[in-house]
Symmetry: C2
Subunit: 344 residues, 2 copies
DNA sequence: TTGTAGGCGTTATCAT
DNA sequence: ATGATAACGCCTACAA
């Protein structure tokens, strides 16, 4: 295919390819007039310097990767929104990879990215309690990594998280103060650090309020709604908790489905609160009390942090391992209300 | 930076770089043993052939771009999920670009992609009623384009849509049959083809049911919740519709907020139905009747179609302009129910 | 201010 | 089965 390139453009204009190349870089070492002429002709021909050739030459890609467990999820899609916003401002491109919570996919994505395809990576980990040494490649290849939300604690790198312990503590205490004596803690993956941290907040809040911790009330759930319904039906039948603390959004939703189905009244019979980025929590029946993470902002901060490292990096600085912690918001609504519910 | 490459690896193993290169391609013209040796050493060194160099040489990038108006939106995030799934299966990479419904950004993204960065593009358009000729570049550069959901009708290219006319017709008729005599049609951008198509279904359904069409009931809204609330408050106060057909999810949500706020009972005083990919529509107060598009599947089909073209394309075939139309599902729930509502 | 030339890392063709 | 070599398209010393 007789595709155009910098050389043909140069020939056509009776210039050398270096001059044409200069026209596209910001450089000052070119006559503004020739520059205009070149750019004008290039625009006519819809010519832009080839991406791969520039990247090969420059040893950088102007591209970052975002690796997340899932995307059809309010938290992650908002976070990606924030990341893309910052990247767009910096004229960077954003690659998306979904691990589907599968550690093997995570490893294979990271590995495949370790040879020049991206300048940096932002990741929320899949979370299996595995060997994380595969991430060392990135350090060796000088590809900066920023964790957000879900992190591996044994990896030394930059991260953006929320104060999960504190939020969980407060949410649990809120349930207790609303009269709950038997609060179930719903978690998807106990081994994931985020699950542990949130659980610790729950445990400590119970302790502080003199409620004995009962192991059976830690409910290990799944990512699939159907399975969770089965699990939760069983929980409501046998354990009869009067409070539910969902450590992730989908478990709050599953609780709602099961309560509706079993005719268990929220909040009269059981109070519910959950981590959630759902914008329409106020419109649920009943409106859902939430701990809401600043998802969009977390994405922005993660991206900003990555670019900061990327810029330092050129001057051969050490990687930054800063840990940015943002605040979540605890929003009390009807689902955890002490009052009998006036149905709106 | 003394980064490793195919040449150093070759030297180290006392081989030529061509042999090493061959080890990485599937090719049969290499001794299986040397091949193993090379791959083994490469793995030790975490070496993978440089992406940009291969791409430059091969004139392809194994990457596709997805351009959408937004991502923090159930429909688009699910569609992207479907696209990424197919891309992952094909070992392709996925770049994400968000236009924020801004035509200029759309143009600038497409333009910046027209020089080798991607092998193909999947797009849901921002929709301004503008000059779409900027897309011609893609044809000239042989970069296939697949539209999904939101399309430009004047552009000849492959597309994946749903039967919006039919769904809107049915939804409107459903409202009428539930007793509505004054149905408002809520739309974000009247000029966007998708808005027009859906509106035509609405208009024709009214006609068929002998309800005079009233221009004032076409409500032009925005993408911002606050603005929509103001618009809708006014609508409910002055026009007092007894039915609302929201052509996009966010307008159904805004209607809910305003009705809650104004103490207008859904569905007793006004019935609501809307296009929506919200999974928890059944949990809203009241549960929301929806026209639900197969978002994930649309993403999958769009990606499959793109790859089909990509594969043909190598054999120098013409671009495919097939139009795949999938069915949406009309799900009746309480918000459009004829019966007085038993609050669950 | 412009031109020349070498190399970024890979692959494919052509030899051996 | 392996090796030498010439692109792929761009950028940047260095020279003029």
């Amino acid at each position: 295919m007789g595709n155009i390139n910098i050389i043909k453009l140069a020939e056509e204009l009776n210039l050398s390819k270096s001059t044409v190349s200069r026209a596209f870089r910001g450089g000052s070492d070119i006559n503004p007039q020739t520059r205009e002429k070149i750019l004008a002709r290039a625009k006519e021909l819809n010519f832009l310097p080839n991406h791969h050739a520039s990247n090969l030459r420059n040893q950088k890609s102007k591209t970052i990767a975002v690796i997340v467990p899932e995307i059809a999820n309010n938290f992650f899609s908002k976070a990606i929104n924030g990341i893309e916003k910052i990247a767009k401002d910096k004229s960077y491109h954003v690659l998306i990879y979904l691990t589907d919570d599968d550690f093997q996919k995570e490893v294979s994505f990271v590995t495949s990215l370790s040879n020049g395809r991206v300048d940096g990576i932002i990741m929320s980990v899949s979370g299996e309690d595995q060997d994380h040494s595969y991430l060392q490649v990135l350090k060796r290849k000088k590809i900066p990594l920023v964790f957000f939300d879900r992190t591996y604690e044994d990896i030394e790198t930059a991260r953006v998280t929320t104060n999960d312990y504190q939020s969980s503590f407060e949410a649990t205490e809120h349930l207790v103060k609303s009269g709950c004596k038997k609060v179930a803690y719903l978690v998807v993956n106990k081994n994931l650090s985020i699950g542990k941290t949130r659980m610790q907040g729950y445990i400590d809040a119970l302790k502080k309020n003199n409620i004995p911790f009962d192991d059976h009330l830690i409910i290990d759930c799944s990512n699939e709604l159907d399975k969770n319904k089965i699990i939760l039906r069983n929980v409501f039948e046998t354990l009869k908790p009067d409070g539910v603390f969902a450590s992730v959004e989908r478990l709050a939703i599953a609780s709602y489905y099961v309560c509706h189905e079993m005719n268990i009244s929220i909040p009269d019979e059981v109070k519910v609160i959950g981590f959630s980025s759902l914008e329409i929590s106020p419109l649920l029946n009943p409106s859902l009390s939430t701990i809401t993470q600043p998802a969009y902002k977390m994405g922005e901060r993660a991206a900003e942090l990555l670019f900061e490292i990327l810029e330092k990096h050129e001057e051969e600085k050490e990687f930054i391992t800063r840990n940015i912690v943002l605040d979540s918001e605890l929003i009390q609504r009807q689902s955890s209300s002490l009052e009998p519910v006036a149905i709106s």
